[in-house]
Structures are given as C-alpha cells and as structure tokens.
Symmetry: C3
Subunit: 360 residues, 3 copies
Amino acid sequence: MKFRKLGSNKNTMIRVNKIIFLLMVFLGVTLVEAKQHKFEMTIDEVMIKVAPKLDYKVFAFNGQVPAPLIHVKEGDDVEVFVTNNTSTPHTIHWHGFYMTNNWQNDGVPGVTQEVIEAGDSYTYRWKAEKTGSLWYHCHSNVNEHVGVRGMWGPIIVDPIEPTALEKTVTKDVIIMFSTWSSSHADKFGEGGTPSDLVDYFSINGHSFPSTQPIRVKKGDVVRYRLYGAGEGLHSFHPHGHDMLITHKDGLPLAQPYEVDTLLIAPGERYDAIVTMNNPGRWVAHDHFDTHVTNAGKYPGGALLITEYEGIPMDDWYVWKNKVYNADFYFSESMKKGYGMLEQSDFKGAPIERRRRRRSE
Amino acid sequence: MKFRKLGSNKNTMIRVNKIIFLLMVFLGVTLVEAKQHKFEMTIDEVMIKVAPKLDYKVFAFNGQVPAPLIHVKEGDDVEVFVTNNTSTPHTIHWHGFYMTNNWQNDGVPGVTQEVIEAGDSYTYRWKAEKTGSLWYHCHSNVNEHVGVRGMWGPIIVDPIEPTALEKTVTKDVIIMFSTWSSSHADKFGEGGTPSDLVDYFSINGHSFPSTQPIRVKKGDVVRYRLYGAGEGLHSFHPHGHDMLITHKDGLPLAQPYEVDTLLIAPGERYDAIVTMNNPGRWVAHDHFDTHVTNAGKYPGGALLITEYEGIPMDDWYVWKNKVYNADFYFSESMKKGYGMLEQSDFKGAPIERRRRRRSE
Amino acid sequence: MKFRKLGSNKNTMIRVNKIIFLLMVFLGVTLVEAKQHKFEMTIDEVMIKVAPKLDYKVFAFNGQVPAPLIHVKEGDDVEVFVTNNTSTPHTIHWHGFYMTNNWQNDGVPGVTQEVIEAGDSYTYRWKAEKTGSLWYHCHSNVNEHVGVRGMWGPIIVDPIEPTALEKTVTKDVIIMFSTWSSSHADKFGEGGTPSDLVDYFSINGHSFPSTQPIRVKKGDVVRYRLYGAGEGLHSFHPHGHDMLITHKDGLPLAQPYEVDTLLIAPGERYDAIVTMNNPGRWVAHDHFDTHVTNAGKYPGGALLITEYEGIPMDDWYVWKNKVYNADFYFSESMKKGYGMLEQSDFKGAPIERRRRRRSE
C-alpha cells in the first residue's frame, strides 16, 4: 500500500528512481536491455559444392550450409519463424539451450512437438540463457538430415560478463566439422546409415582445397570455436601453435588447459584460444589420416591453412592464387553486430530443373 | 609378552579397548564393519530382445543383460562362485579393481588364470578397495563376448566417505552403452570383428523405443553413471540440462567440469551429476547421428526420454502409453541395500528348443 | 663504444664476466649449454613383421618401424639430413614443435616446402623449444604413409626444469598405437582410404603376441608416453593400476587427473604416471574389443603384459617362453643419453628380391 502511494507522487517517484539507480551503481549492476529478435527462416532443397568433384543435395536453412549464424547477447529473446519448403518433415533443435519453462520449443518430434510437415510453418521462441558456442540443427531423421544433408548452423551468445581470457580475443573463427558420403549425394531420403562409406570430410561444408585460409597478423588472438556438427570424430591439430582450451559446450572451464591436438566428438564444442605469435604459413587439420582425403586422395578433407600477414607466396604454394573469402570462418559476420547473418558464399544452387525432368 | 599379560586380565582389556576407542574417535575413524558377500552366478545361453525387430543370442550372467548389479561398500570382501552353463569358455574380469596381492583373480585367460571351460565352475574373490562406478565383463574372446554377446554388468562400490557433491545425489541412473551387429544375432561363435556392420546401438541392452523413461521431479539430483560397455563410442547429450562431471572411472576429479555433451569410449566410466531444475519432457541421446537408428531407421538406438512429474502426456507423445519399468536404470536396485541384485525384466528367454532342433 | 673499450681490457673483461655470472646466480639462471645435434636419416622400403601372420611393406625411417627415437634436451638445435631411398615423394613434419621463425622446416608439401622426390635429400633444422612427448611423421600422402606405412617415430625433449611429478619417474615406456589393413600389406601406393578394412592393431608396430612384456619391480614409477600415431582411436586400460595423467601433447596439466582407461586420438599424446605398487602379472590393452584381435581372432592386437619381478611363470602362461627385448618400449634407449637412437629389433627386412622379380 505504502509503495503505491509513493508511486502516485511524482517527486517521490524521482527520489525512488534515484535511490534504485544509486543502489545499482553501488552493486555494480550493468544496465543491459535484453533485445527481442525476430528471424524468418526457410528450409530449402538446394545443391552445394562440398569439394571440386562433389555436388551434394542438401536441406538448407535459408538455402545455405552452414546455416546462417545467429549472434545474440545473453538474456535476449529470440523468435524464429521457419517455413519448410522441402518435400519432407523437419524440426529445429537449439542445442545446449536450457529452454526453461519452455521445453515445448526444444524441437524433438514426437517428444516436444509434432514435425513441421512439408509446406508448413512453425514459430520457435527461446531466451539466450546459456552463453558461448551453441548451435542449431534438425532433429527429424537426424542420421540423414544432420549427418549428410547440412542441417546445422552456429549460434553465438555473447555473455554479459566475459571471462578475462575471452576479453583478449581479437578474432573469432568458427569451424564446424562434418562428413559426407558421396554415394548419397544425389538423392534425398537416403544416407546417414551405418553402412555408408563416408568418403568426404569438411570444415564449414567444404573439403580442401575448397576450404579457405585464415588470415592473421602477428599479435592476433584467435578464438577457434570448434564444433562436431556431423556424424564423425575429428582430431584437430594446428601446426606451430598450442591451443588453450577455455570452454566446453559454451561453459567456461575452471581450469583451462593447453593442447596441440584436440578430439572433437559429435555435438561437442570447444573454444580454443591461440595467440598468433609465430609468423609463417601453417596447416591446421584433422589428424585422422583418412580425413584429409577426398574420395581417398590426399590432400583433401578437413584441412585449412593459416596465413600470417607478410609471408610471401612461393610459386609452389598450393593456394598462391586462392580467391579469398574473409567470412568463411564467420570472422566478419561476428563483427557485424547481433542478428541472423546470412552469407552468399554458403548458398546452394537451385535444383529445380532436375525435379521437373523427373516429374515429366 | 607384556601385551599378552594385559590380554589375560579382564579389567586391563576393558581399559585397552577404551583407549583404542578414544584413539579412533580422536583420529576421526569411523567404525565400519567390512562385509563378506558370497554370490552365486551362472553364465547362460539365452535370447534377449534388443529392439522390437532384433532378438539376439547372448551369453548372459544369471541369464540377464545387463548382468546383475553388484552393489557393495568400500572395504567389503566379495566371493563369486560362477558356473559356466554355456558351450564355450569364459572368465570374469573385474574392471578397475586393484586386486592387491590378488592378481590371480583378475580374470584374464592365459595370463592370470586358465579359462573356465564349458560346464566348469570357478570362484573369484576380491576386496572392494576402489570405489564408485566399476564393472565386470568376460575376458575371453572379448570381441564377441563383450562386443556383441552382452557379457557385462555394473558394480557400484559406495565410498565410506563420499565427497560433498556425491552426498547431494537423490537418484542413481546407470547407463551402459553397447552396440550390436544384427547379422550375428542368431549364431554363437561369430561376430565382433572389424568387418561387422554395427547397426544397433543400445542403453542397458535396449534400443529405442525399447529403452525406458527416466522419471524425475523438480529438485531431484540425478547421478548418471555412464559406461562404455561395448565396442563403440558414444557422445551423450541430455537436452535442457548441463552435466557436472565429478568422477572418471570411479576416481573423483579434483576439478569437476560442466558439459552438455560427453564422449564415452569403450571401458570408460563418467559420473555426471544433473540437477533436475527444468520441468519438461527431454530426450537424452547419443549424438552420433547413426546411433539413434535401428538398422538405419530413425528414431531408434541409444535414446531415452526424461519425464518430469506433472508434465501432461500429449496425444502425439511417442511414449504416451509406455509400460514403465522403474528399475531399467537400476535406480530402484540402488536403494535396496547391498548385494547382487537381479532384474526379471533383463532376463533373456530360453533357446532350448532351437538347440534340440539342430541336434536332431 | 664504451662497451668495446671494456672488452679490449683483459682485467675489465674478467670483472664484467664476474658481474654477469653473479647476476645469473642472483636470477636463478641455470647454465645449460644447448647442444647442436646432426643426424643422418634415410627413408627405405622394407618389410616388417607386424604379427605372426602379417608381413607389411613400409616406408621406414632408417629402415625401422617405429622410426628411431630422437632424444634431446630443451634448447638443443637439431639438424636432420634425410635421404629418400624410396620410389615415392615424402617430407617430415615435426609434430608439436613451434618452429619459431622457422616455418619453412615444418614439413608440409605445397605449404612449407616442395616434396622430397624419390632419390633426393633434404635438410631439416629445428630447435627443441617445446618439451615432452613429441613425434615426427611423413606429411605427404599421410593417409597411406602415416596410416599404414609406418612413417612415424618418437621425439622426447627433456625439459631443463622438470615438474616435481616428472622427477619421480624411474622408467620411461613409449607406446605408439597404430593400425593396419592386411589387404594393402603387399603393395606400395595404396591403402589408408575410408574403404579399408582395418584388421590389425598394434603397439610400436607389433600386434600381440608379437608385442613385449613391460618388466618392472615393486616401487618403480613408470611413465607411459602414449601416442596416437596412426589412423585409429585407442582406449588404453592397464589392469590393476590407475594412471595419473600429467601431460597432454607434451604440455603439463595444471590439474593432473586419474583414470583407469584413457581414450587416445590420432596425433594426441598423453603422459601417464603409474606407481608400480601391485605385484602380479597384468595385461594392459586397448579396450575397443575388436582392437585386441588379429584379423578378427582374439587374443591379438594392441595388448601387452606387465610382469613384476618375482612372479613365477605358470605353465599355462601365454608368454612363459617369451624372448625378451628390454628396449621394445624405448626404456633402455631413454637411458642412453641424447641422440638419435636406432633399434635393430625394429629394422625391417629388405624387399629387393621381389622387386627384381617384378621387373623381369
């Protein structure tokens, strides 16, 4: 009762506000306004080029593999209106999110919702309670859709209070590992079973030489955000540098540790900070020996090259004339502010013509 | 000499006992009487139902897969009298136990003992020196017997002094992962070789939908005891909750850490504490995409659902009419006190008739 | 200018040296003279015996698998003059080394150098900046050369200041895991592709029973240096003992942790200290059930036996009459001082005759 009276008196209100403000300053509270994001997303049937000799039919979020980066801040509310333009049912699972009092938005068919049928739309709503390296993927027929049809993308939730280590980072590099079975490239509705011959291995949907350089300068502090996005295991080894593992699945480690080779399993995420103090030209790759091949031929697969500024391109350098995409590892997108960030280079090509031919 | 004299005098004995007692109180020693357990065990040839369409011939400890839970306390002495009722040799290895001054009971054929031939019996004796999540399995022809014939079961040794974290646990959930190759389901003496097509993935010997819900209420503190019991790798991801990893192979970690996805390799055990603070209906599953299929069809495999009390069953919920077994994850057995705890629901069916037919 | 004058006066020089010396004592600097090592190495085509029934054609550094141990001290400079006597190109990558201001010696064809063609020689130079369990391997056609042709060997760099834990070690045991595909044993230029049937699993290039015992006495403190040298994953489990994991990839862990089973991925190294306090005869093996078979037959593969001094050999003991090689795990080599240490028992046999036949 007393409070209401105060509220009805303007002068008193101002005084109360001042007290609250001073109290917050005293308590060190930062005033952060949680944003409400509304995104529209489609799921489309397109064809992507995984490797020079491998075109693959995928179910692609907004037509791209990886799916668009969703970059928000801790505490933000997100609404995603998704339309299924494909010929088969899907859902979206928001991997790692707590979905407090909100399990119905967790995206598991038959458990938290019914599938989104071909042609239908659905609205997901969730709050960015958990921070760090999170992701989203289909949860219907995951063996095919996540395993070999590219239905996965990154979500980065910036914490309101980053750790001291995180504050040193100058460049974000998102690396999502997945695998492909060339015998199922051309037909939806198959693949991703234990009998598959898995013969292509990729970073952000591309196999070397279709991957991209990471360009850095001495002094950069790179944070690799490493994702096991598909079916396979990957043993990541950057040459010439150790990695300080700071987060597992978005969660800060009380005791970060250093490695030069890191095993990443399906669904896992590791944040690895690397101080770029060693100018040169260095490969970083999956250390499973077969994973740096394309259809059994070396070099290929999950392999990239880190190029320091100022290192001359030798004539025999395999990427001497590489056409460079600065955003292949989402480094540019991560600087663009919050939202859903699409990338034209990740978009697939339409496969309309083939369909028509079939229905003739 | 002096000591004997004291012993012969009743009054003095009482005084000595009192001194010993006070000394123990002073030193903080808890008086715990180590028990002597004697168990009888058979190994039988039976048929289990791994999945709706997969019956599998197994060598089963006491006729069940998983084998019976052995639940004892630190310091207890255990004797297991085992009779091999199968047609092939076996041994039992007690994985993780120290067997101090007792290596002859370690169960490795040709190294610590000769095999237990078909029809023979053998007595194992060991002390529960190590605590936590341990297990036992055959060590003869392990590729077939452990890999695809179900010869494994849990041993839980309660520590005399649990850690502070352990004391918060209200519910134990034992999850043993293993894999199956359907082409070897029907014939003993084969399977478990590198050329196998591994096409079924299971939790406690069952593939979804033959697994069971974990039923909890808000406020429960669940300890998952996660076992890599068979040949495969498993990347366990419970939706909506992080896991605090507190023990590795029964050994407490000085620095527990949090994850939402955990890789478990053959032979490994992880204790993961999860505070059930997020009411809903949540899947938990192996994140290898092929491991949630049965013979390549999703959903299946190593997948379960956690059901919070009070969440209504939607009409479309896949387990709306599930016949519930509260002890599928050994949660009830773990409350029953110490001993060897059998479960009728894990017992296989006899395969006598088929044998007779063959010998006709 | 002033400094030069001082230098030209003998008495002053002595005084300056004295000051420098006292300064170093004050700063706690240990005077260690970095050595300059010069090694000559060949790459040869030879035949090794992986298992009793498996002879394998390999590209072998100095004719041996594993390649010779390189044992140096922190700060040492190393020069390796390598001659490629095989019929195909190679390079050498020094895994884990920083190669500061020296990326051109990192050994990656097309990125840091051109391949060393058949018949050619090449000189690598590097400084032992990083310490601990490191290694070297070919980086050309790694899927075949590292995966199934034995082109890998250990490098141990002793730190100038070992950790307290390291100082307790009395015996070094180097264990390098790799795998083999018998169908490619006899022909160079093939194998190491995703379609391979991998059917042999080895420790230091040998499958049980061709592995060797680790002989210890009570009180020994053994350091296992565990390497994922080939394509496969390995889950190492020594019976009767826990392992204290102290280093990952040569880097000391701030928080060592104990396990009884450890997963090792390609490229990874773990240092595990085990106190030998439990006399007996104990197996230690890869817990992937198929990895203790040879061509699908148990026992075989990545399995060894630790024999404590004083344990009698039972008549039925599988290694009762084993011909013992004390250096199979490099324990003897590690005591021999610094250098490149070859082992006659790891040398392959010449395959000259077969070649001639083919060219007839």
